[in-house]
């Protein structure tokens, strides 16, 4: 080896598994996140249908459920489309297609912000209809679980925006652009997959 390197090894540096340290770190971090969301979702499932007072999520004893499934289906579609644009951004970054990468990153960010807009709308509507954190166990489990998911989308938006901003520097994202965008993509897709589980558990499966 011409250069014995410690620490942040560049992507071409030999590792025992052949996978870059930073990508491996992201994978293990996402493994930890699985347990985090797993615990939140498990809590939701344990308490599903245990609310003593309304508003209830789904139609209950003649009372209409508070969840607006068509609206959230739309926001779910928006988030899933952001995964498509994320894939395009990774492709662009890996093949040196600067314009494609930047536009796709921008589209992903805007779709993510749109999803957060939907979530804000939903939270506000629920608030007006009398569902808060302390109203019943549905309110507590729903707001904490989806709130933490929304926070993760928000962090993803900041992450991707930072990459987009950095890509406008003279050096762009540097020789490892494809690597950086791909690692961000791992995080973004993970957050999307978590939403698919939450959407199914909360919205599609009636009490």
């Amino acid at each position: 080896m011409a250069h014995a390197t410690a620490g942040h090894a560049p992507a071409h540096h030999r590792t025992n598994t052949g996978t870059d340290n930073r990508k491996l770190l992201m994978w293990f971090f996402l493994g930890s996140e699985c347990l985090f969301f797993g615990s939140l979702i498990a809590t939701y499932l344990i308490f599903k249908g245990d609310s003593v007072v309304g508003p209830f999520p789904h139609d209950h004893a003649g009372e209409k459920g508070i969840l607006d499934i068509p609206v959230t289906s739309t926001s779910t579609f928006v988030l899933l489309m952001s995964s498509v644009t994320m894939v395009l951004a990774v492709y662009g970054a890996q093949h040196g297609l600067q314009k494609m990468m930047k536009l796709s990153l921008l589209a992903t960010i805007l779709l993510g912000i749109t999803f957060l807009g939907f979530q804000t709308y939903e939270f506000r509507t629920f608030g007006h209809e009398g569902l808060n954190l302390g109203t019943n166990i549905f309110g507590a489990t729903f707001f904490v679980m989806t709130g933490f998911h929304g926070t993760h989308v928000g962090v993803g938006v900041i992450y991707l925006s930072s990459l987009l901003l950095a890509s406008f520097r003279r050096s762009g994202l540097g020789p490892e652009a494809g690597f950086h965008v791909e690692t961000a993509g791992l995080y973004w897709h993970f957050v999307d997959i978590v939403w698919i589980v939450i959407f199914t558990v909360v919205y599609l499966i009636p009490t």
Binding site: H3, F28, L35, S39, F47
Partner: protein, 597 residues
């Protein structure tokens, strides 16, 4: 050699600033060690206060409220601020050296882990100035709910553990990647030193066990401050959920505490028995099996909650099965000693004591794996005896063995063997005097966590005995501290490999240079230095090539201050939390753009 232009010039590696900005795994290990040992002393003082109060019936040294705070904080201090970070001190210092790497995979992240740990430790400890947590270390609801504990203590608990959890998670991710990805040529997984294997296993445990605790803490925080009812049965919640979330973390946590000590013992015994570790693959796989089974036993802490027959049977069976891999390890250690040419150094004495006392604690563990017996043991001093035999007799004995063993490598100096043996015997006798009578007290019906007891209960004699024992432990610690400072005044005389050990850290100088190895070693066998010695293979000559080491950085401590502000904001004013978030985002950007070449 190791000079490059970074963002920070480094004319000399001395002074406070060089320690604040260091990203060197050895210095971070030393920082962990000194900080954790200070917390160990503080936790010990808390324990002595508890024992002084309990020495005689109707004691009046401290009142009930302070007593509740002391036993809660004693456990939190010892577990999260002393024993876990002492393990971290060893694996920070040793892992890269043992795998033939120049540093960990993410040196700045490593520094961040330390500074966040320090911040979390200071937040938790500062609670004594306001209200210290007082609901026990596992903090059961509803006692820890707003209704029964309305002071800030529980919030300190939540914020402190969330902060410390963040630190542990980052360290665990870092070491998982380091061990999997940065081993020297020839160092296959089945040639890894057992200590490194145990570090890898606890890293996995931490990565997977911390999130459930995080979720439980968040739910408790919301219940206390934001009006939710996760743990309130009248509103559809369930207090047992806290117990499940806590122990899903809490049981792997006990393996997180003990496995580093098992790793240390597995390194020390072969060196001083002058024999390779007996049954290396069995010891490794037993460690993996313990960690794996450790996920399926958490409800044995909850036998008395009325879970039903099937769960009780399953959890009892799984718990008893853990005794099998643990027994495998113990027999392999004994097999290592058998027929060896044993040198009874202080490190060796601590390791042998580990086997003995840990076995006693392990056997009482098997006893309360049985639900009907556990019903009798629950919340009695018998459980206190068990936990201290595995944590003090196990983890702490192993850690002291490691300190005496690696002290020459870490400092270039030897600890005095004479004072060391005095330390050992005082600690071994004191430890057994303190904790063995607690078995009797528990069986005689003394509940844990009572701040005093009446004259006629017949508990006075053994309580006084245990208190005397705890002072003997205190004296042994003073002997160790004297030994430490005396040694630090001696000249550095330690050669590379004073004990004739087999693992790679002994191939470099004592203490090692900043870049660890002049030439990255090549590993040809499981005990590389013994193989090279027996086959006449000389250490390779330094080539004088340029070795690039990462430059120091102040972003870790800056970002850690942001993390601490997040927590302090939750305890005081939310504006501080917002400020913390800004500091963190700024640090991440600065961090990402900081050149490391």
């Amino acid at each position: 050699m190791a000079t490059v232009a970074g963002t920070l010039a480094r004319p000399a590696n001395v002074g406070v600033w060089s320690w604040i900005t260091t990203v060197d795994h050895k210095r971070i290990g030393v920082l962990y060690g000194i900080t954790a040992f200070t917390f160990l002393l503080w936790g010990g003082i808390q324990a002595l206060l508890i024992r002084t109060q309990l020495a005689v019936p109707n004691g009046t040294v401290i009142d009930a409220e302070r007593f509740n705070q002391l036993f809660t904080m004693h456990a939190l201090t010892m577990i999260f601020l002393a024993v876990m970070p002492l393990g971290a001190a060893f694996f920070n210092f040793l892992t890269p050296l043992m795998i033939g790497a120049r540093d960990v995979a993410f040196p700045r992240l490593n520094a961040l882990s330390y500074w966040v740990y320090l911040g979390g430790g200071l937040i938790l400890t500062s609670s004594f100035f306001w209200d210290a947590p007082s609901a026990g270390w596992f903090n059961y609801v509803p006692l820890s709910g707003q209704t029964y504990t309305s002071d800030l203590g529980i919030d300190f608990y939540v914020v402190g553990l969330l902060t410390l959890g963040t630190s542990s998670l980052m360290a665990a991710l870092n070491f998982t990647v380091t061990i999997i990805n940065m081993r020297a040529p020839g160092l296959t997984m089945m040639r890894l030193p057992v200590f490194v294997w145990m570090t890898l296993i606890i890293s996995f445990l931490l990565v997977l066990a911390l999130p459930p605790l995080t979720v439980g803490l968040i739910q408790l925080l919301f219940d206390r401050n934001f009006d939710t009812h996760f743990f309130v049965p009248e509103a559809g919640g369930d207090p047992i959920l806290w117990q499940h979330l806590f122990w899903v973390f809490g049981h792997p946590e006990v393996y997180i505490l003990i496995l580093p000590a098992m790793g240390i013992v597995s390194e020390v015994l072969p060196v001083f028995a002058r024999k390779p570790l007996f049954g290396y693959p069995a010891v490794v796989f037993a460690g993996v099996a313990i960690a794996f089974l450790g996920w399926a036993v958490w409800s044995h802490h909850m036998f008395t909650t009325g879970m039903g027959t099937v769960p009780r049977t399953v959890f009892a069976t799984n718990t008893m099965i853990i005794a099998v891999p643990t027994g495998i390890k113990i027999f392999n250690w004994i097999g290592t000693l058998y027929g060896g040419s044993i040198r009874f150094t202080t490190a060796m004495l601590f390791s042998i004591a580990f086997i003995v006392t840990f076995t006693i604690g392990g056997i009482s563990g098997v006893m309360h794996a049985s639900p009907p017996i556990d019903g009798q043991h629950q919340d009695s001093y018998f459980v206190v005896a068990h936990i201290h035999y595995v944590l003090f007799g196990g983890a702490v004995m192993g850690i002291f063995s490691g300190i005496y063993f690696w002290f020459p490598k870490m400092t270039g100096r030897f600890l005095s063997e004479g004072l060391g043996k005095l330390h050992f015997w005082l600690m071994f006798i004191g430890m057994n005097m303190t904790f063995f009578p607690m078995h009797f007290l528990g069986l005689a019906g003394m509940p844990r966590r009572i701040y005093t007891y009446d004259q006629g209960l017949d508990w006075g004699f053994w309580n006084m005995f245990a208190t005397i024992g705890s002072y003997v432990i205190g004296i042994s610690i003073i002997v160790f501290v004297i030994n430490f400072f005396r040694s630090m005044r001696q000249p550095k005389t330690a050669p590379n490999n004073p004990w004739d050990a087999a693992t790679l850290e002994w191939a470099t100088t004592s203490p090692p240079p900043e870049h660890d190895f002049d030439v990255v070693p090549t590993v040809r066998a499981r005990d590389p230095l013994w193989y090279d010695r027996d086959h006449g293979i000389e250490a390779p000559e330094p080539t004088g090539e340029h070795i690039h080491m990462p430059p120091p950085s102040y972003y870790p401590i800056l970002m850690a201050s942001g993390v601490a502000l997040l927590g302090i904001g939750v305890l005081s004013h939310l504006a501080l939390t917002a400020l913390g978030a800004v500091v963190i985002i700024y640090s991440i950007w600065g961090w990402a753009l900081e050149p490391t070449d």
